[in-house]
């Protein structure tokens, strides 16, 4: 359990908490969108320092978690082909597809390589002109611009043996889907800071207005999260619903215009299935027709692959904030980081993994607060 004295600036943390406690008069449910924020919250026990009326719901913001099973299976299929060098970020290695994962494909002789950057994969393609090099392009709006630039470079440099299996996702349609669900309890959002560093905040006012929901752009540090909560609660108490930027040191309203225009050139919006949730209209990007030559799905004709997720796994509900990880029957028994059933357990940024890692099991909120005598 973490204590407030371990915050970077305990005095400021206490002031923010005091202010939140003084402002709240009734229950509010806020969703933090980003997996990095979820980890920071659980690690620092922020949810337990907040007034009982303020509930933090964990959102779908872990790219590894939401990559659909079907795309993982396509990756496994391509990675198993002779002559292919399959490049991926490290945290995709153990995401279970149907029956196996990329780590196992390598054990069976597949040439699977981990790269730090998509540009590393492009370099591998330059160095191996007789091989097909495929990069697994997943992630939110933060990861999409690097991947877009890499495809653009491949075309510019005429690197023909490089392609990308693209499964990018976009945050605003996910917010829309969450708010449109009849069982939705979310009343305010802490938007993901780094997504907004790229995209700016222009997509949010319409959502805030339509769903009458405050959206506060928030960073990752414990103090950032407390400040995000403070501003969201203040708006809710006043009956306001605007977009507010609490992470201005990294987020400009217009985002990064160069990155946004590259995104527009290389990708086009498409419907995308989210693992555990299902298809959300317009929630993804795929390569635009101009870049079709570099589309691995096209090059390897794997579009027919269809798959089903394990029935025990309730990660879809976890990802939508309808269920806390430890409320899943498989949590910690059938499903652990070593034997993950769902991606929310395998990814280090997933909510199930966060609960498992920090032993946040079924401690009721009040008891947890008694165990944390700090406020």
């Amino acid at each position: 359990m973490k204590y407030i004295d371990e915050f970077q600036d305990p005095e400021l943390a206490r002031r923010l908490l005091d202010d939140i406690h003084a402002t709240v008069t009734r229950p509010w449910a806020l969703m933090e969108v980003c997996g990095g924020q979820t980890h920071s919250i659980i690690r620092h026990g922020i949810d337990q320092l907040l007034p009982e009326q303020v509930e933090l719901i964990h959102g779908p913001g872990c790219p590894v978690c939401v990559t659909p099973l079907e795309v993982i299976d396509k990756a496994l299929e391509i990675a198993s082909r002779p002559g292919v060098i399959f490049c991926s970020f490290g945290d995709m290695l153990r995401v279970p597809g149907t029956g196996r994962d990329l780590f196992q494909v390598r054990g069976e002789g597949g040439d699977v390589r981990v790269v730090y950057s998509p540009l590393d994969a492009l370099r591998i393609a330059q160095q191996n002109p007789d091989r097909e090099v495929v990069f697994f392009g997943i992630g939110f709006e933060t990861t999409a611009p690097p991947n877009a630039m890499t495809v653009h470079q491949a075309r510019k440099l005429g690197i023909k043996n490089f392609s990308m299996l693209v499964s990018h996702v976009r945050v605003p349609p996910a917010i829309e889907a969450i708010m449109s669900s009849p069982s939705c309890r979310v009343q305010g959002f802490l938007a993901a800071g780094h997504v907004c560093s790229v995209m700016g905040v222009g997509e949010y006012p319409e959502l805030a207005e339509r769903f009458r929901v405050p959206i506060v752009v928030t960073g990752f540090e414990p103090l950032d999260i407390l400040e995000g909560v403070r501003r969201a609660v203040r708006q809710l108490e006043r009956g306001e619903h605007t977009v507010d930027n609490a992470y201005s040191r990294a987020v400009r309203p217009e985002g990064n215009p160069a990155a946004r225009s590259m995104l527009e050139d290389v990708f086009e919006v498409t419907d995308r299935a989210w693992r555990g949730i299902g298809v959300i209209p317009d929630s993804g990007w795929r390569l635009s027709s101009k870049y079709r030559d570099h589309d691995a799905e096209h090059r390897f004709s794997v579009s027919g692959i269809q798959t089903a997720e394990p029935a025990e796994c309730r990660s879809g509900e976890v990802l939508q904030g309808l269920l806390k990880p430890h409320e899943c029957e498989a949590f910690g028994t059938l499903c652990t980081p070593r034997t993950p059933l769902g991606a929310t357990m395998v990814s280090s940024e997933g909510a199930c993994a966060a609960y498992y890692l920090y032993r946040r099991l079924d401690l009721p909120a009040t008891k947890a607060r008694e165990a944390t005598p700090v406020v």
Partner: protein
């Protein structure tokens, strides 16, 4: 991998018609593409994600964020050996795994 980590630009050079830099992330140095922040200078800080600088950041915020990520063990995930991590998670001996790479 969805994390973006702040780093400091050490030097800049043109490669394949692209502006690239060596960037220091609290001790780990990586190659980073500056095409999305073309006017970033040596000594400045930026938020870097999968090898691309995405937004400028002031030094103090950068330092605090790096400390937090280190404390959360997230830098290991970003810069550590992914095969070792995957092997450990799978309960496989990492030495054996790495040697057949």
């Amino acid at each position: 991998m969805c994390l973006a980590v702040p780093g400091r630009v050490l030097d800049i050079e043109e490669r394949d018609g692209t502006r690239m830099a060596n960037v220091d992330f609290g001790g780990v140095v990586k190659e980073v593409c500056l095409e999305y922040l073309p006017d970033l200078q040596v000594g400045e800080y930026a938020i870097v994600h999968v090898g691309f600088a995405l937004q400028r950041l002031d030094e103090e915020s950068a330092r605090q964020t790096l400390e937090l990520f280190a404390e959360l063990g997230l830098l290991q995930g970003e810069f550590g050996d992914p095969w070792e991590t995957a092997a450990a998670e799978a309960g496989v001996d990492p030495v054996e795994e790495v040697s057949n790479q």
